[in-house]
Every structure is written in structure tokens, then in C-alpha cells.
Symmetry: C2
Subunit: 356 residues, 2 copies
Amino acid sequence: MAYLFTPGPVPVPAFVMEAIARPVIHHRTEAFTTLYAGIQAGLQYIFQTDGFTGTMIGSGTYGVESAIYSLFRPGEKVAVIQVGKFSQRWADYSTLTGLEIIALEKEWGKGITSTEVVAQLESYEAIAGIVITHCETSTGVCLDLEEIALAVRQKFPDICILVDGITTVGAIPFYMDEWEIDFAVVASQKALMNPAGTCAFAVGERALLRLKSTHSSDFRNLYNYYQAGLRHEYPFTAPTQLLYGIGAALQIMKEEGLPLIWNRTHHAAKVFRDGVVALGGEIVAETPSDSLTAFRFPGKDNNYLKKQLAEKYDIHLAGGQGPMKGEIMRCSHMAGMDAEMMQMVLEKLEAILHLP
Amino acid sequence: MAYLFTPGPVPVPAFVMEAIARPVIHHRTEAFTTLYAGIQAGLQYIFQTDGFTGTMIGSGTYGVESAIYSLFRPGEKVAVIQVGKFSQRWADYSTLTGLEIIALEKEWGKGITSTEVVAQLESYEAIAGIVITHCETSTGVCLDLEEIALAVRQKFPDICILVDGITTVGAIPFYMDEWEIDFAVVASQKALMNPAGTCAFAVGERALLRLKSTHSSDFRNLYNYYQAGLRHEYPFTAPTQLLYGIGAALQIMKEEGLPLIWNRTHHAAKVFRDGVVALGGEIVAETPSDSLTAFRFPGKDNNYLKKQLAEKYDIHLAGGQGPMKGEIMRCSHMAGMDAEMMQMVLEKLEAILHLP
């Protein structure tokens, strides 16, 4: 069995997989509404919110695209922070949807500060929303979401703050309500320790007003998930087995507790980053996330190193994307990872580096 | 454990569930492309096509909506046969997407003939496509897809024929290529014997030209699935575990063979329909599908009968939708069902009917 250290998909605990493999239930039953009500409560804990939560069939990309589609109307002005492949994808999609984009761009590997964000936005009027990618999975850059969200909110009280929390919610501190975030998305195959196929979201009051102003009945309009979700139901056929998995993972996470999870993830990340530097490597991100580390060994064929790790030790890291394809490696610290597992990866990395 | 006779979700065989519960693989590996290539070949068999096949994360609704979105451009004229809840949904979505709809409507329970379809279309010019719901799951009405598709094709050689085969592909005869169908969709929780969460599609040459004329990078544009699928890859994060399940089901179905499956389903349906009528019941559909039967007992509280079956025998049928809510019951004959199982349901139905 392969050791998956890719920043999604992550290894799935047996407890979760066994839940997924339970006998199929119908989604219009009490068994389902009981399951879903539990998931919704579990998600409130993970997102740290008292607001509405729900899930959708789809990957994280689907979740963020659906949110953009459901929250904003063509012609509205939306700022999109772009610091890597995924945040770039949200900008592309926003443009496709007919939104007027304010691009807040930085080169890959760099972050952006709250001061920079506010300074760039000040020359605009009637900004409907901002899309913030908490951790840019392509480079491992983590933004200071708390500072950015609160600074933006202070300057633009009515702005709708949409956060891609795909590789952060459940992995590192995330406080939806305290940070006055309006909408956030996470995907199942990240800190939620599940197979890919579902994503989850949380909605605050301001975003809810936006959702309620639309009434289209199509699959990706999140208003439909809100309406049905109030009764702990799904607007369409529900992925019952995948939701069993989400329910099981949320139970495990509640038992361990977010402070311990965040701490374990932070410690694993620190051990890994220190180890990489000690081996002569570089961390790609200026402000690295604890959920994953993008790194490179200068002067080495990093793609070859990644392949050697997989072939010799069955340790699977992810490579780079876009301009960083072939140039970097990425290692996950989410979903049950700890410092000891990171030591194991570092040892094997060292062995590979010392090969003739 | 409940006996699921709902026309989706269906019971999932252990062989399929065990495949789903395998250790997680990454979707950018040879293990994945091997799995996906096998699925694509299996789908060609199920759809009876030499064309491109693929899967998506999503329910059947998502599949048909994505197809409409990906194949047609706003302003194009598309005919939509509407004979029940689901075909109505495709009309609503087409309108939402900006298509000009030609409504071919019939009351619920009735079908439509090829002569009627062609006669109604003849007064129009430049019709881009037609959306045909092979079996309308809300009423169990099966259209004569072969006749309709071939008649429409003869009159409109360039029309794009999009078929909702959600409750027919893999359950009853379906010949994508022979019937000159351009695009067809099926969902995992029907004849494919899998949990809900994925859907599959097949694309013919004419539809491919339409797909290729669009280049948007968003999640639901099927062109992206085509491009990546040529390399047996996914354009986004793939639902690896659900795809393991699809692969396992396609293997079972290939082993049994479509003629035997179709025959078994047909026999189960016939036994069930005859039994219902013998018990004093009525079949809702004028031209019933073999994949499911919608039926009612006149003068009885059909909703109460359905509940009694569930409470006393743990046998779960579906109820009616829209105007038929509370008025009818629906029983599946898909996904491993046989005549003996239908006899069992009939026996319990009889027992319930004779209760004081």
C-alpha cells in the first residue's frame, strides 16, 4: 500500500472507510436526515460558526465555482486575490461568469498583506465581494486570513467575503464567525480525511441574503442546498455513502478536538520545514501554511527525487503545477499526519539525496 | 438491513462496495489511468458505442445539466420532450441557460410517439438539438427511443440528440451508435449498481464537434473531461473510490452480459406489473419502462400502503412526485433485481392490502 503524502487526496482512516461501505440508505428517509443533521452540526464546529452548513457532491473546485455562481450576479465587481494556480482558477471562473474582476496579483510563492489588499481596493467603489484563497495549494502560501478579512470588513462593511478554505479548514486555525467571513468551502479529500467526491460549505448572514435573492432551480445554485438543508435534506440525490464517511470523520475530529489537531499539524509542518532546510532544501512559500509544504532542492532534479521516493519507498508526494511543474515537491501535513510521519519522509528524502 | 426497491438508489453488491473501500489512490498515477481506461471501455459496452465515454462527479441531474450547458449556446433552439418531473427539469434548466425551448409536452403518465415529435418539430427551422428522456423516472413512462431518435435524425440530419438514459442505460436495450444518439447520460445509483455520487456519459461525433467549439475551463464544461479523458485522466480531482465501484460494477455487468441483464430486468418488470394488476392495481405509465414501475391501488391510500410496507417488512418503495405525490408507488427492477424478488414484494403488498 502506497504512503500518500499528497496534499489531497490524503489517506482515509479505516473508521471512515468502514462508514462509507455501510449498506446503502435512501436519501429521503429519517436515517438520512439524522445523518445529515449530525454532519451539519459537525461542520459548524469545523468552520467555527453558528451559521448554516451543508455539503455538495463535487470537488473543491466545484464548491468554489458554485459559490461564486450562487453569490454574485453578472456585472458585479469582485476582487480576487491571485497568488497561484487555484486562486487564478477562481479569477478565470469569475470572469467566465460575467463578473467584473479586480485582480490582486502576486507572483507564485509570495503572499499578500491586509495593508496591500485594502490599499488596492480603496480606489474602487461598489465592490460586491472578495475571493480569498486561505492557503494556495499550488505553492503552500498561507495568507493571514484573520487580518485580511477583518481589515477588508472594516473598510467595506457590506462586502461578501468568500474564502477557499480547501486546504485549511480542519487543518489550521479557522474562525468563520470571529473573522466575519461570509462563505467558506472545504473539500473532503483534505483535512476531512475522506475520499474525493464531496465538498462542504458554511454560510454567514450576509451571504445568505445574497443566496436568497436568487431562485434558479439548477444543481449548482447553493440556495437549493440551503432550503433543503434547513430540513436536513438534500435538494437532489444525495451521495449517502460519502456522507457516511464525512460523518465519521467529523466524529473523530470532534473527539480529538480542533486545538489538538491544529497543534499536531503545526508541529508536523515545523518538523518537516526544518528538516528540509537542514537537508539543503528551500521552502517555496514566503509565508508557508502548516497544512502542506512546497519545497525544492536547488540544483537538483526535483521531479526525479519525487519519482525516486515513490519507486524506492512507495512514498508519494505531489509535484509542482503551472510554472512550477517539475521544479518542486509538495508534502501534506493534513488529516492525521504527525511529526513522526514527517521524520520518516525526511529520512527517506535524505537517503534519496545521497544516492550517487 | 432495509430492502431498497427505490428506483435509485439501488442496493450495492458487496463486490462493488469492497472495491470502493480499497486504499485511496492518487488520481495522477498509472493506477488511476489504468482504472479509468477500463471504465471507459466498460462504458462503451454499456452505452453500445465506439465513441468517447467518461464519468463525472455528480448526480444524474448534474450530468444532464452539464451536457445541456456544454453542448448548446444561449439563443440556440432546443426541443425538450416533457412528460414528467425530470424531463420538465431539463426544460427549466435549458431556459435558465438561455436556450430557446420548443416544448413537446404530454400529461404525466403518457408518452409521445416519433410521429408526434416530428410533426411538432416540422414547423421550426434551425433546431440545434433535442433532449429526450428515455425513461421518465417520475412516472415510469418509457419512450420508444429507437423510433424517435431515428425519425428525428432522418428529418433533421444535423440535430444534436441528447438522451437522459439515467434509468435505462444498463437496464433495458440502449444502442447509442445504432440509434444515432449524440450524447447520453447515466447515473451511478441506477443500473450501474453503485452509490450515488457519479454519473457517466457517452459522446458521438456530432456532439464532439459541439464540445470542441467551446473552451471554457470551468468544472462542468464536458470538453475538459473529453480532453483529459483521452489520456484516461480527470480534468479535476477524481472521485477515485467511487470510480473503483464503477469499475467493479462494469466488470460484473460485462460478465453477465447485456442481453441477460436486459432479459432479467424485463422478466422482473413483467412479473411485477402482472402481479400489481392481479392485486387490483393500475400501472401509471401508458408505455411502462422495464427499469421501474409506477403503480397505484385505486381507492386506497397509496402513501399509507408504502409506509406499511416499510414499517412491517422493511421493504422500501418510492412514492410519487409533483402532482402524483402521495398518489402512487414506484418499484425498481434495475441492478440485480429478478422475478423472484418481485414476487417477494408482491406477496408483502398483498398482505398489506388485506390488512383490516
